[in-house]
């Protein structure tokens, strides 16, 4: 993909810049935070914005700004790593189904269809109940909900290239399936899959926020935008600012991934440009 052309795409560029800013915030959260994110101060609880606490304090007197900055870490970590895990699972299942076809294909795709009949959040809830909360378990739960989608996407791309001459040639000289998968199939199908991954990271972050909001995702005292939103809602009448900021952070990061994904998709498929 032509990176220079990508930079000329205003949508992708806006998304990229926004995402870069969020990544920098996540990376330098310890330096940027004015206060330790978990330090409680009961005297200052539920204060509005002031010079000491720029975005106010929560129900335990903790600095909201510091918590928001630190919370970017679990959101990005879970969003990106769950999609990477799902991508890995989807590549294995999708390439196997698409390349071998027949009963294997039928069985795997029917299974994918059935798993996809659960809404992401419902499936995420179901798995989160089994595994329990926490960052690693939430990552696994979310990644499982995305595996069938990747598998379907990869399978479709694999079917479209498996009969190409270069694959047939490799088969004719007796190359192993692993070599065909890694050296020929993967490089030829990965483009659109990377684009969809970018868009799906945004969705994964939304699912994470939802699970954390319900108390089944990231567990306190680790700050997360979902749990902060829930705390904000519980203290709605006394301090409405508590619910506003974490929600805006979720929207900003999801929007960044959506803008970048849209831009990448347009670059990859010129017929969609501007669509």
């Amino acid at each position: 993909m032509d990176v220079k052309r990508l930079f000329k795409d205003k949508i992708a560029l806006t998304g990229g810049v926004l995402l870069l800013a969020i990544l920098i915030v996540a990376l330098f959260a310890p330096l940027l935070s004015p206060h330790p994110p978990s330090r409680q101060n009961v005297i200052d609880q539920l204060e509005g914005p002031s010079s000491t606490y720029l975005l106010g304090t929560d129900q335990y007197g903790r600095d909201v700004l510091s918590r928001l900055l630190w919370a970017s870490r679990p959101s990005l970590f879970i969003g990106v790593s769950s999609i990477l895990l799902a991508l890995l699972g989807g590549l294995i299942l999708g390439m196997t189904a698409g390349y071998y076809g027949g009963a294997v294909d039928h069985l795997l795709m029917r299974f994918a269809d059935i798993v996809m009949s659960f809404p992401s959040l419902v499936l995420g809830l179901m798995i989160a109940v089994v595994l329990g909360g926490g960052m690693v378990n939430t990552t696994i739960a979310i990644s499982i909900t995305f595996v069938p989608r990747f598998a379907r996407l990869v399978r479709g791309s694999t079917v479209s290239v498996r009969e190409e001459y270069y694959i047939e040639a490799e088969r004719a000289i007796g190359s192993s399936s692993l070599r065909i998968f890694s050296r020929h199939l993967l490089p030829n199908i990965i483009g659109p899959i990377v684009v969809m991954s970018t868009l799906w990271v945004g969705q994964a972050i939304r699912v994470e926020a939802g699970l954390s909001f319900l108390g089944l995702g990231v567990q306190p005292p680790t700050p997360s935008w979902g749990t902060m939103l829930k705390a904000g809602m519980d203290n709605f009448l006394r301090a409405s600012h508590l619910a506003t900021y974490p929600g805006l952070c979720i929207v900003a990061v999801v929007l960044a991934f959506n803008l970048l994904g849209d831009g990448l998709r347009d670059r990859l498929d010129p017929t969609l440009r501007g669509d």
Partner: protein, 308 residues
């Protein structure tokens, strides 16, 4: 059409069977002992054994599965571990709230999303198009539950137009904000798909032919473009109903609505396994039903689908 409908209807049976099996298997690997959940940590071993025996927890795995399946076929979803009441009526009582949210959300999504997508496509690369696209992109980036919170802040707390809590009310005054918070997000998704689907069809030869033979623009759009753009739009509406149901769980929590989502979340907090299991079956059943309706709609929109 009849054989297509029958074939599609028959496909629901193995799909539902697979869905129920997956839920049953997942529930069986859950940590914790339901007997301890019911009787508490201090219960005697004898009491626990007696309850396990009564609940059939010591039966072989396959027997538990077939007992559960048999019960489901007769509308018996088991009994709640917390209040010992049958699960089915509890779910049935909650269903109208979630169904109202789902139907209302889809209506708002369709009524706003399709016109937004059509206008955006027809005015491609103009300011209107740019505005609609930004609106749609912003919309799909908003979690529905956060939009719900913002709507409460503006319309309930500042303007005092709607109540903050919807609770057990099934009227428009109580359900307007939750429906809007789900529907506006739906509208964004539908608008995006409508726009790209219409742009795709606008490039087709038959549209150029219709225009070149002098048909008025309104006829070309309504009879040639819209009808042929409908399949992807219907697909995304069906798909987004699934997302909407997921969103409804959170929206019900925000507005404290006594729907399926609230029942499910409450059951999860209390580790009420039969209620969790029943809630999941109903949620997944709802999606399977929506997928069936979407497929049957394909048959109505595009006659070719029936012969595939």
């Amino acid at each position: 059409m009849t054989s297509f409908t029958v074939r599609r209807l028959l496909l629901v049976v193995p799909t539902m069977l697979a869905v129920v099996t997956i839920i049953f298997l997942v529930m069986r690997v859950l940590p914790g002992d339901p007997a301890i959940v019911m009787l508490g940590n201090n219960a005697s071993e004898e009491a626990l054994r007696s309850l396990r025996d009564k609940l059939g927890l010591d039966d072989p795995f396959w027997m538990q599965y077939f007992t559960y399946l048999g019960g489901l076929l007769q509308g018996d979803f088991g009994k709640s571990l917390v209040n010992n009441r049958p699960v089915a009526p509890q779910l049935l009582n909650a269903l109208p709230y979630t169904a109202s949210l789902a139907v209302g959300g889809v209506l708002v999504g369709v009524v706003l999303g399709i016109p937004l997508g059509v206008v955006s496509a027809l005015k491609r690369n103009t300011f209107i198009d740019f505005f609609c696209r930004i609106l749609a992109l912003g919309g799909i980036s908003f979690p529905a539950f956060y939009l719900g919170i913002l709507l409460i802040m503006i319309f309930s707390m500042r303007l005092n137009w709607f109540p903050i809590i919807a609770g057990s009310h099934l009227d428009l005054r109580h359900l307007t904000l939750p429906i809007l918070s789900l529907g506006l997000i739906q509208a964004a998704t539908i608008a995006r798909m409508s726009r790209s689907s219409i742009l795709e069809v606008l490039r087709k030869d038959y549209v150029r032919t219709a225009r070149s033979k002098g048909l008025p623009s309104s006829i070309v759009i309504l009879k040639h473009v819209m009808r042929n753009s409908l399949i992807p739009i219907v697909t995304v509406i069906g798909f987004s109903i699934g997302l909407l149901l997921g969103g409804a769980i959170l929206t019900e929590t925000v507005f404290n609505i006594s729907g399926m989502g609230k029942v499910l979340v409450g059951a999860i907090y209390q580790r009420d396994y039969p209620l969790i299991q029943g809630g999941l079956v109903v949620f997944a059943g709802f999606v399977v039903l929506v997928n069936l309706l979407v497929d049957l709609t394909y048959g109505l929109i595009d006659p070719k689908v029936q012969y595939d």
